[in-house]
């Protein structure tokens, strides 16, 4: 992998980050004057002017923008007025819980999705194939909040075997993770199936069979590595969906992660927390996309050259 390829991807990530920062800055300024929003209506104009000067709001916009970016670089994301603490602290203490949920859901996506896809591809045209694919269509159209509510009705209220909200034990993780992972597992299953079907007909698979390799060995050692590229792409794209989905799923199951925090912060218009979360997610997405691109180039060296042309 060439340095140039990596540098180009890094640059793209930086541009995306800069756009995210600019987006937040613009919307923040559009949202109105923070001074008049914070202070009561009957405050004299001289006090307002004083606050504006103190917060640098009397400066020209480009300067305000530069100050804003510099503050972000120093880790200053503003102050959460609800918690009376730096917004970044409020957000960071929720990150581990979201990561726990995200990893569990991602594991379900990868394991269930790929297993179902492999099964359907190997049994192509049989009842197993049709049943699996039918099930993926259902799972894909199921809104995650509805699935979550149905699971709560069934497992928490009727059968009383799983807890419906909170994060006290590992049992609490099961329903949110399944809810979050289900629709993504479905699309991974479809992609695994179609990309495996393409590979299974290749001459090298016949050779592997002729060598007398077992089915497991043929699939795991020969077919899967060659079918991996579309699947890795989909997994990378799905991570963004997982983050968006976590917002909904966390509030269905009262899972105390950044998704629930974001929903609450939006409801209470705690803007510093909202901007910290948005920028944190942008950073996460940039890192994920970068890693996916790198994995991509490593899995298939031809991509490097192709992508250079494709982005034109």
């Amino acid at each position: 992998m060439s340095i140039r390829f990596i540098l180009a991807k890094l640059l793209r990530g930086l541009v995306t980050l800069l756009l995210a920062v600019t987006f937040v800055f613009v919307v923040l300024r559009l949202s109105g004057d923070p001074v008049t929003q914070m202070l009561p209506d009957d405050v004299p104009a001289s006090v307002i002017a004083e606050y504006r000067r103190m917060w640098g709001l009397d400066r020209p916009l480009p300067e305000q923008y530069l100050r804003y970016v510099l503050a972000l670089l120093q880790g200053d994301f503003g102050f959460s007025f609800r918690d009376n603490r730096p917004a970044l602290d409020v957000v960071m203490e929720r990150v581990p819980e979201t990561m726990r949920l995200g990893f569990a859901a991602f594991a379900i996506t990868v394991i269930m999705g790929m297993a179902a896809g492999i099964l359907a591809a190997l049994r192509r045209g049989t009842g197993t194939d049709h049943a699996t694919m039918g099930f993926t269509i259902l799972a894909h159209s199921m809104p995650n909040f509805f699935l979550g509510i149905l699971l709560i009705l069934l497992f928490a209220m009727s059968l009383r075997v799983l807890p419906s909200s909170g994060n006290a034990t590992w049992w609490h993780l099961i329903m949110p993770a399944v809810t979050l992972g289900a629709s993504h597992a479905a699309s991974v299953a479809r992609f695994t199936r179609s990309s495996l079907l393409e590979v299974l007909h290749q001459p090298f698979m016949r050779t592997a069979r002729a060598k007398g390799l077992t089915l497991q060995r043929r699939v795991v050692m020969h077919a899967l590595p060659n079918a991996a590229i579309p699947v890795v792409t989909v997994l990378g794209l799905r991570l963004g969906g997982l983050i968006g989905g976590a917002v909904v799923v966390e509030s269905v199951f009262a899972w105390p992660g950044i998704g629930l925090l974001l929903v609450n912060a939006v409801g209470q218009r705690d803007l510093a927390v909202v901007q910290a979360i948005v920028l944190l997610i942008a950073l996460t997405m940039v890192i994920i996309n970068f890693l996916v691109d790198i994995t991509y180039g490593w899995l298939d060296p031809r991509i490097e050259g192709m992508q250079g042309r494709a982005t034109r």
């Binding site: 969906g241 939006v266 409801g267 997610i281």
Partner: protein, 300 residues
């Protein structure tokens, strides 16, 4: 190269022959989906006529009555909610709100995205570069997060909500339209018209657009269910459509507090969302397979 005789042409076409018998019959699932979609649209358009009660009519004596088929009041087929409002009537109005938002939202996203795609393809150069950078940015950020941020910063009003939801997916239309226009521009017909000195806008609207419309329509069917999911998700979280208005997501969101005592408040709305997204996806996939033979080849 020899000139193909009629018999040769027939054998060349032979591989595509077996598809024709499949084309004629419409699968049962697709028929059912289409019927469901027609039903949803009829309900959405005729809500005022169909709904037995108003969606804000309260009857505090009739609170949390179970559906008629579970021994409730026959007048309230799907029972009543925590304020004694008729769930069926609310469901009907909710379908109207959700379908209208999804419909106009799709219209907004498709027009804005397509226009941007056309501009990028026409001007090339830095305009195109800027558009592609924005497209990349949009594609790499989860849209739900952006929508939440905008609603948080700018406050929630129905029209702002409609525009925000509508912008969902603009980048897919822009990317698609750009590449389709670039392809069309090098084809004979566009070149021929341009040499006649026709104004570029007229070329794009009268000649290029009709030629690429079918592919854009397929994209619309892919986008529509996602838009319904976006609107219902935001409304479910209480950050979309605001009471006393109602939407499918909002109904399910309100109903989740009554799961133990009155599940009928929210579950019907969830079922409608599920069946609608499922139907649009099934019909969309089917349409795509019929309209675009190249995808069919890539799929098998």
């Amino acid at each position: 190269m020899t000139v193909a005789t009629p018999s040769e042409t027939v054998t060349q076409n032979a591989p595509s022959r077996p598809r024709f018998p499949r084309r004629r019959g419409v699968p049962m699932v697709i028929c059912l989906s289409a019927v469901w979609l027609v039903l949803v649209f009829v309900v959405a358009l005729g809500a005022d006529v169909i709904a037995p009660f108003g969606y804000v009519d309260q009857s505090l004596l009739n609170r949390l009555k179970p559906p008629a088929f579970l021994g409730g009041d026959p007048a309230h087929f799907l029972g009543t909610d925590g304020l004694g409002r008729d769930v069926l009537s609310r469901l009907i109005y909710a379908i109207r709100t959700s379908v209208l938002i999804a419909f106009f939202g799709t219209l907004i996203g498709a027009s804005v995205g397509t226009l941007i795609g056309f501009l990028a393809a026409h001007f090339r150069g830095w305009v195109e570069d800027a558009v592609m950078v924005l497209v990349d940015f949009q594609a790499s950020m989860p849209f739900l997060i952006i929508a939440l941020a905008v609603l948080a910063f700018l406050g929630n009003s129905f029209w702002l909500f409609l525009v925000v939801v509508g912008l969902y997916g603009w980048e897919t239309y822009a990317r698609l339209a750009r590449s389709l226009v670039l392809q069309a521009n090098v084809q004979g017909y566009a070149f021929a018209i341009r040499t006649l000195g026709v104004h570029p806008v007229k070329i794009y609207v009268r000649h290029v657009l009709p030629n690429i419309l079918s592919i854009l329509v397929v994209q619309v069917t892919l986008n529509f269910p996602e838009l319904i999911l976006l609107e219902t998700s935001l409304s479910f979280l209480g950050l979309g459509v605001q009471p006393p208005q109602t939407s499918l997501g909002l109904m399910l969101g309100e109903g989740r507090n009554y799961l133990a005592t009155a599940w009928w408040m929210g579950i019907p709305a969830g079922i409608v969302i599920f069946l609608t997204t499922l139907s649009v996806s099934l019909v969309g996939d089917w349409l795509r397979d019929r309209l675009d033979p190249t995808l069919q080849v890539a799929d098998s």
